[in-house]
Subunit: 210 residues, 2 copies
Amino acid sequence: MARKPPTKPRKNASQERSRATVDALVEATARILVREGFEKASTNRIAEVAGVSVGSLYQYFPGKEALVAAVIERHNQEIMGLVRAALNEVADMPVETAVRKLVTVAIEAHRIDPKLHRVLAEQIPRTGQLKDVEAFNREVHTLVRAYLESRRKEMRKIDPGLATFICVSAIEAVAHNTVLNQAEMLSEKMVRTLVDETTRMVVGFLRRAA
Amino acid sequence: MARKPPTKPRKNASQERSRATVDALVEATARILVREGFEKASTNRIAEVAGVSVGSLYQYFPGKEALVAAVIERHNQEIMGLVRAALNEVADMPVETAVRKLVTVAIEAHRIDPKLHRVLAEQIPRTGQLKDVEAFNREVHTLVRAYLESRRKEMRKIDPGLATFICVSAIEAVAHNTVLNQAEMLSEKMVRTLVDETTRMVVGFLRRAA
DNA sequence: CTATAATGCGAGCTATCGCTCGCTTTTTCT
DNA sequence: AGAAAAAGCGAGCGATAGCTCGCATTATAG
């Protein structure tokens, strides 16, 4: 009989078994969000799908929000990986090449898991994750801006921040809408044309010639 | 004593008092969505804020979803009014003028009630209103496309559907992000520059000269 | 092997949600 | 005026949500 109960720090996972539990919980949350929607993602259900008890869930996550936040975090890391790699790859290449790559990556990123992406986009405001997602956006913004500034010679006179804002918004929106409205926009050829045209728009916007 | 209870059609509002009730309910729903968030928008709370009983609520709306749907409908009508007016106004004007007007209107539309706009965008998938919102998007798309086709002479060779898709996505995204990230993008002068640059991008994209 | 910490369990509490139903009040009709 | 229809009311129902707590099981240390 321990008089002093071992102090439950309520969140750390040091052993391996517990890390597996945490993973299972995050994965289960993602699956439920995609397959059954946010309202079905009760803590009881998440635990059930993860093959874990509710009690264990609450040892690692302070609540439902934290689970969703973890899923968002994971998904964002995945996307940031793609974006960082792409920008690194094109760092020394001309604007046209870089923009084309960025557009392509944006579409790929949305294709990782469109349904999850959609659900998460909806739930972000609820999770208090706004800060993290803003950080995510800021990083994209910063990376793109750095690239653009390094290529200033190829570009007309324009505020780099503004240019970044407009380009990123436009590219992201085209990718987002393309992937989410699969019904009408679908074939590989269409996608290629779309990349061509979007690239053209952005490059035309940035280039010297008016 | 009526043996046959008067049949409750469960939704029609014929008298004036009832129409006021319905309005109050929709208005209350919007207010709660904006000020307290979706999860606080319980039917009990909505009725309370509307100064109406839950019972009355259920005489006109089959459930919570219907309330949110009504708010979405109202908001969309407001925006469509602006868009229709704008496109009508510029119907005979050159592309540059038209695009500038559209960009301006897009920002104005988002400014009507940014917070509401955000919350609604999040809740749309939940309400089964997807169809209505798609119809809304299709109308914008159709109107813009019709305009572009009428101005084909000023434009380079490009599929009108694709051009519309890219332009509308880009314009909407810039407006959306501008209004929602007020923190960093704010001053009137900035807005004007933003409109200029966005117009430049879209017009450059559509125009003949490559 | 035994003690102690770490992890896992799940019945069940409390709170709240969406919603109904029997009734009263107001309006309309004749 | 009186009767019937329309509108409004709100206590309270069943369901389910988030979450806790006392205990069981598994891993680590001495």
